[in-house]
C-alpha cells in the first residue's frame, strides 16, 4: 500500500489528469463547430453580424473572475480560509454575472433581428457556440457553488487542495476558451 502511495505521488493526480483529457474532449467539440463555421462562411447566402457590446462586458467579467479564482486557490494553499471563502464567493458571483451578461448579449442580437430561422449566417452559429460555452460556464458555476457551500458548512478537515485546483483549472479553461471564441468571431464572423 505504502509503495503504491509513494509511486502515485510522483504522478499527476488522476482527477487533474482526467480534467485535462476532458478539456481536450471539449475542445474537439468546439473545433467541430468552428470548422463548420469556417466551411459555411464561404458559401453563398451568408449573413454577418455586429458583435453587441454586452460581450465586451462579459469578457471583462470572466477575466476578472479568473483572477479571483487564482487568488482563492492561493489563499487555500496558504490556509487563509476566510480570505478563501470570500474570494470563492466573489468568483461565483462573477460567474453568474457572466452568464447574465451573455443572456443580454443574445437578447440584443435577437432584437437586431438575428433570429434562428431563415438563411444561414454567423448569428445562428453564434447562438449555438456561445450558448454551449455558457453551458460549460454554468457547469463551472455549479462546481463553484458546491465548493463554496463546502467551505462554509463542511467540516474544514479538507486538507487536499485537489478539488479546488481542479475547479480552478476548469475555470481558467472556460475563460481562455471564451476569449478564443470571441476573437474567432471577430476575425471571421
Amino acid at each position: 500500500m505504502e509503495a503504491v502511495m509513494n509511486q502515485q505521488q510522483k504522478r499527476m493526480h488522476p482527477h487533474k489528469f482526467t480534467l485535462w483529457v476532458a478539456i481536450a474532449s471539449i475542445l474537439m467539440m468546439f473545433a467541430g463547430l468552428t470548422s463548420a463555421f469556417i466551411v459555411k462562411s464561404n458559401l453563398t447566402g451568408w449573413r454577418n453580424i455586429v458583435m453587441p457590446d454586452f460581450f465586451w462586458f462579459s469578457t471583462a467579467t470572466i477575466l476578472a473572475s479568473s483572477l479571483t479564482m487564482q487568488m482563492a486557490l492561493r489563499s487555500f494553499r496558504q490556509r487563509a480560509m476566510d480570505q478563501y471563502r470570500w474570494l470563492i464567493g466573489l468568483t461565483f458571483v462573477l460567474g453568474v454575472t457572466f452568464i447574465v451578461l451573455q443572456w443580454f448579449g443574445f437578447k440584443s442580437l435577437w432584437d437586431q433581428n438575428i433570429k434562428f430561422n431563415g438563411s444561414a449566417g454567423a448569428g445562428q452559429f453564434l447562438y449555438v457556440i456561445f450558448g454551449l460555452h455558457a453551458l460549460h460556464v454554468v457547469g463551472g458555476v455549479i462546481a463553484l457553488l458546491v465548493i463554496f457551500l463546502k467551505a462554509f458548512f463542511g467540516k474544514i478537515k479538507l486538507y487536499s487542495s485537489v478539488p479546488v485546483e481542479v475547479a480552478a483549472t476548469y475555470w481558467h479553461f472556460v475563460d481562455i476558451l471564451w476569449v478564443c471564441l470571441l476573437v474567432f468571431f471577430l476575425a471571421i464572423g
Binding site: M1, A3, V4, M5, Q7, Q8, R11, M12, H13, P14, H15, F17, T18, V21, A22, A24, S25, I26, M28, M29, F30, A31, G32, L33, A36, V39, K40, L43, T44, G45, W46, F116, N117, G118, S119, A120, G121, Q124, V128, L132, K157, L158, Y159, S160
Partner: protein, 602 residues
Amino acid sequence: MSDTIHIQPGSVAHEAAHDEHHHGHHEQSFITKYVFSQDHKTIGKQFLVTGIIWAVVGGLFSVLFRLQLGFPGQSFPILETFFGHWAKGGQIQPEFYYALITMHGTVLVFFVLTAGLSGTFANLLIPLQVGARDMASPFLNMLSYWFFFMASIVMISSLFISTGPAAGGWTVYPPLSALHDASEGSKLGMDLWIVAMALFVVSSLLGGLNYISTILNMRTKGMSMTRLPLTIWALFFTAVLGVLSFPVLLSGLILLLFDRNLGTSFYLSDIVVNGQTLPNEGGSAILFQHLFWFLGHPEVYIILLPAMGMVSEILSVNSRKPIFGYMAMLGSLFAICILAFLVWAHHMFVTGLNPFLGSVFVLLTLLIAVPSAIKVFNWLTTLWRGNIRLLPSTLFAIGFVSLFISGGLTGIFLGNSTIDIHLHDTMFVVAHFHIVMGVASMFGMFAGVYHWFPKMFGRYLNTTLGYIHFWVTLVGAYLIFWPMHYEGLAGMPRRYLDKSVWRSFSQFGDLDKMITVVSIIVFAVQLLFIFNFFYSIFKGRKVTSTNPWGANTLEWTTPVNPGHGNWVGEIPEVHRWAYDYGKDGREFIPQTEPIGANESKH
C-alpha cells in the same frame, strides 16, 4: 477519491486524508452493491448484460428485415399481430423496414459494440490488468453506466411512439433526418434518437476519461507502459479515439437539432418538400456528413480495437507463446489510431467532394491497410509453432483473424475511390462492414467473454455449447456475408427492400432466401449462447484455481471472486512484460515473478 482508499475490510487502515470518502464496504446494501455500484467489475458486468439485451433486440430486428428481403411479397400474419399497421397484411411496410434497419444499425454499432464491448472489457480489465484497486474516478465510472442506461431508455421509448423511431439510416443524413415532412421517422422519433445519442456520447466520454487516466496514472509498481498487456493498449487507444471524436458528433447533432426544431439553416438549403417551399438558404447538407464521419470512421476502430487487443492476448495465452512483435503491434495500434482521424472522407467520394481531396483520402485510407497487415502477420506468427489449446475463446480469436482478413481486403476495394464509384452504397458495403466490423468484433467480444467469464463470475461457461456456438456462427457468418458481395458487384443498392421492379437487381432471389434462412439459424444459436451465459452465472462449473488458463497477467493473481479493491493486501509488483510464455522451458511466467538470475534475454 483516489485508488488508495479502496481497501479490503480487515487490511490496511484507511488513510486519514480520505476520511470523507469512507465506503461502507462492511455492510453494502443490495442497491450499492449491484445497482449503483462503483466497483469497476460490477459496472463492467452491467455494461455486458445491457449490451446482451440490446444485441438480442438488434438481432431480432435483423431477422425481421431479413424476412422481408428473403421473401418479399410474402405475408407473415404473425407480424401483423405484433406490429399492427407497421406490418399491414403481414407485410413489412417501407417505413417500418427503414425504422428497423436504422435501429438495427444504431443499436449494434453504438449500444452493443461500443458500450457493450468497450464498456464491459475496459471496466473489467483496466484496473485488473494494470494493477489498480479501481478506476481513477469510480463515481464518474458509475455515471457513465447510468448515462448509457438513460440513453437506452430514451432509445427504447422511441420504438413505442405512434410515428415510430428514427428511420433515416444509422448515419441520419439530413435533410432526410431534418425535415419532419420527409418521412415518418423524421418526426418525434428522430428527436428522441438525437437525445439518446447525446446521452450516449456523455456516457462514453465519462468512460473514456476514466480509462485514459487510469491507464496513465494508476499502474502498479513496475508496470511500465511497455509491460502493459496489449488489451490495455488497445483499450487505451479506443478511449483516445472516443474522447476526441464523439464530441464532434455531438456538435453535429446539436446543429441538427437546431435545424429540425428552430428553423436554422446549418444543413438546409433550397428545399421544396411535399410541395412546401422552405425559407432556408445557404445551408450545406454535406457539412453534416463531414461531422458525422469524423466520428463515424474512428467509431469503426472504436469497435474493432478492443477486439484486436483481446484477440492478441487470447491467442498468445492459448498458443502458450509470446505475442509476436509486441512493439510492432503497439506501433500499428498507434498508427491506426492516428490514421483513423484522417480518412473520414472516404465515405464521401461520390458526394461531389473535390477530386483532389478525394485522392488524398484514397492515399491515407490505403495507408491504414499497412498497420492492419502487420497485425495479421503477427497474429499468424504467434500461432506458428505454438502449442495451441483450441478452447472456445481461441476458436473465436482465430475466427476473428479470418474475418478481419476477409473484411479488410474488401476495404481495399472501397478505399480506392475509382472502384468506390461503382460500389458505394451497394450491398458490397454492407457485406464489407458486417464482416470486418460487425461480425469480427462480435467474435472478439465472444472470445473475451469465454476467456474472462471465470474472472467475472467465478464459474465456467459450458464448453460444448461454446463449440456449437462457434461453429454455427463462423459458418453462418460466411454464408450470409460472402455471397452478398456479389449483389454489390452487380450494383445492387443497399437499403432496398424489394428488388422485383428492377431489371438489374432482381436476379438474386434465391440467394436472398438462403441468406435469410441462415441468419435465422445464426440468430437462434446466439440465443443458445445467451442461455449458456445466464445459466452458467448461477449453475456453471465452479472455478477452483485462481489462474485457470495459466496466464501471466495480473487479473489472475486476484482471488477467484475478487471483492471491491481486487487484491487482498498489497497490489502485486510487476517485474516483466505480460508475454513470457514458453520461455526457458517454462510454460508461463507470471508478470509478478522477478527476473531470474540466469534467465535468458530476448
